[in-house]
């Protein structure tokens, strides 16, 4: 098991956002998390990536506890994420956006940096190569020098995706990647998710409201409602689960 979430709870003040969540994610799985707005999906991501510190429970990645670690440390442990409302470094170039994500991999210390030693220059060259490779893969190479904020919406999503991959993740958390996309773009995202998962040997957790995408891409789906897991299973099972239908369509439908 790659990720084991055990009895995880989190509350903001007196408000319970997540209550005793337990989810197990095997390696190379594409897991979907669905649920109405406010059901705690993004909170779960914030807990896994260390943005929030869980009130109780544990999150273990390959047996190592994540709760209590700083976000950057968790990223170095190969967990990457994207944000629901894209968070790029807007005034920085597309290339810099991706290069920044190599921070945790850079080995040069203050001395090599300040004196720009040969070792430093070699590493810089390598970082550029790695960044360019990703940008080419995501068809962003012609925007290299453009400020990230000037890209069209779809490309900004792609750039955020590339930036997340630049940290060399094993586990990738995607928060509503299809938000604001038209059906054609969702179709492309569908293909992309599958080949990216294969090529980078990723385990992906996907928060998504776009049911079509979730049903096609995910091998397993977890349904959250008011911070509690109400259903779990294959897309087929979840789709026919009466509790899920209640949540989405209201009781009695």
């Amino acid at each position: 098991m790659l990720l084991v979430i055990d009895n995880l709870s989190h509350s903001f003040g007196g408000l319970a956002a997540l209550t005793n969540i337990s989810i197990v994610v095997p390696e190379h799985q594409l897991l979907g998390i669905i649920g109405p707005n406010g059901s705690g999906k993004t909170t779960l991501f914030n807990l896994i990536t260390g943005m929030y510190r869980a009130s109780s429970g544990s999150i273990r990645l390959k047996g190592q506890e994540l709760v209590g670690r700083a976000p950057a440390a968790i990223t170095r442990m190969a967990v990457a994420r994207t944000f629901q409302n894209i968070r790029l470094f807007k005034t920085l170039s597309v290339l810099d956006n991706v290069r920044i994500a190599r921070y945790g991999k850079a080995a040069c210390g203050p001395f090599d940096t300040l004196f720009r030693t040969g070792r430093f220059l070699k590493e810089e060259g390598l970082i550029i190569d790695q960044a360019m490779e990703l940008l080419t893969l995501f068809e962003l190479d012609r925007y290299v020098e453009a400020p990230a904020g000037s890209l069209p919406y779809g490309q900004q999503r792609q750039l955020e995706f590339a930036r997340a991959l630049a940290t060399d993740p094993v586990l990738l958390l995607l928060d509503e990647p299809a938000a604001g996309m038209n059906p054609y773009e969702v179709g492309k995202l569908n293909e992309q998710l599958q080949w990216v998962a294969k090529r980078f040997a990723l385990t992906i957790i996907l928060i998504e409201h776009h049911m079509g995408l979730v049903m096609e891409v995910c091998q397993r789906v977890v349904v959250l409602d008011f911070g509690v897991v109400i259903a779990e299973g294959t897309p087929e099972e979840v789709r026919n689960d009466p509790r899920v239908i209640d949540v989405y369509l209201g009781k009695g439908s």
Binding site: T49, M51, A70, P71, A72, A73, T75, R76, A80, R81, F83, R87, L88, F89, K90, T91, L92, S93, L95, D96, R99, I100, A101, R102, Y103, G104, K105, A106, C108, P110, T113, L114, F115, R116, F120, L121, E124, G125, L126, I127, I128, D129, M132, V144, E145, R163, A164, A166, T167
Partner: protein, 324 residues
């Protein structure tokens, strides 16, 4: 070291040495040039915090004071008189190191707080340094520290100004530097991208205060007299003016800002007290006409390293700058 930088660096240094050694320039002109150099060191280092990191530090004069007093104690009291002129470079470096340690401590509040709140912390820091110095009788208290020899010359100022520009540039165009920029843009996204924000802030504050300390040491051994009042809020404000005049987030801007401010202040000297009225008015006008300062986030091409020569042969110029 990047090759493109080496030759101009050495020749400029040689020229300033000749000027110093043979008095090729009027001593007043030399003095103004030294002020320019010291101010370049100050504004470039302050720009690291205020421009690149996007914080607002108003305590830079406090760092300068620590550097000035540290070096003065060393050359006047610790070093044997006969050796003091030769040991002056060590005093400058030591001043930088001591100041850097204090700067690293000041980075700690920046882990938790930012913006206006951090500005108040730096303001308080500046006030603390000044009042501690004012109350230390062994350092001359408010009367000031006397008997400093004039060891600072144009060669040293040029050397340190170039070192500051070169190192701050090297820092900015590196993983650490991009980390600093990412903290300015979006700290949460930065940490999600694996940037150790504490490390980045610590490094930026340490480097910035190191050079402020160096500038303080050069200043003390140029004026041959220092007192706490020289390093009050007015001094910090002066540095802020140079940074914002030249343009935040631009090393070239800081160089230009320091030059224009220093030279203009000298040229307006005949106006007497009125120059302190004219100067602010010019600033207000500049902020209206060019709100981002003269350079405003762009950079001189020669300051942007072209190390981005990828092994695939594609030459990529780093680009948080649009060129001059």
């Amino acid at each position: 070291m990047s090759k493109g930088f080496f030759l101009p660096l050495v020749s400029v240094l040689l020229v300033s040495h000749l000027i110093t050694a043979y008095g090729l320039l009027d001593s007043y002109v030399q003095l103004v040039l030294m002020y320019v150099g010291i101010n370049i060191i100050l504004s470039v280092s302050l720009n690291l915090i205020n421009g690149y990191m996007g914080e607002f530090s108003v305590g830079h004069a406090g760092f300068m004071a620590i550097g000035a007093y540290t070096s003065a104690i060393l050359t006047v009291r610790m070093f044997p008189d006969a050796l003091a002129p030769w040991l002056f470079p060590i005093a400058v470096v030591a001043a930088g190191v001591v100041t850097a340690i204090v700067g690293a401590l000041l980075a700690i509040p920046s882990f938790k707080t930012r913006g206006d709140y951090l500005a108040i912390v730096t303001l308080a820091f500046g006030m603390i340094v000044k009042s501690v110095l004012e109350n230390m009788d062994s350092l001359g208290a408010a009367r000031g520290f006397l008997g400093i020899s004039k060891y600072t010359n144009l060669t040293w100022v040029v050397f340190w100004a170039m070192a500051a520009v070169w190192m701050v540039r090297n820092f900015i165009y590196s993983s650490f530097g991009r980390g600093v920029l990412s903290v300015r843009e979006d700290e949460i996204a930065a940490s999600a991208a694996g940037v150790n924000t504490r490390q980045v802030k610590l490094f930026a504050f340490t480097l910035s205060s190191f050079f402020a300390g160096v500038a303080g040491a050069l200043y003390a051994h140029l004026l041959m007299f220092i007192n706490p009042k020289m390093f009050d809020l007015t001094k910090s404000t002066e540095m802020l003016i140079m940074v914002y005049l030249g343009g935040i987030g631009s090393i070239g801007g800081s160089i230009v800002g320091a030059m224009i401010y220093t030279v203009l202040l000298e040229l307006l000297r005949p106006l007497g007290i009125w120059r302190m009225v004219l100067m602010p008015i010019m600033l207000v006008l500049l902020m209206i006409l060019r709100p981002r300062g003269i350079m405003g986030l762009s950079e001189f091409r020669w300051l942007i390293p072209s190390v981005g020569v990828s092994s695939k042969g594609a030459k990529i110029v780093q680009d948080d700058a649009v060129g001059d």
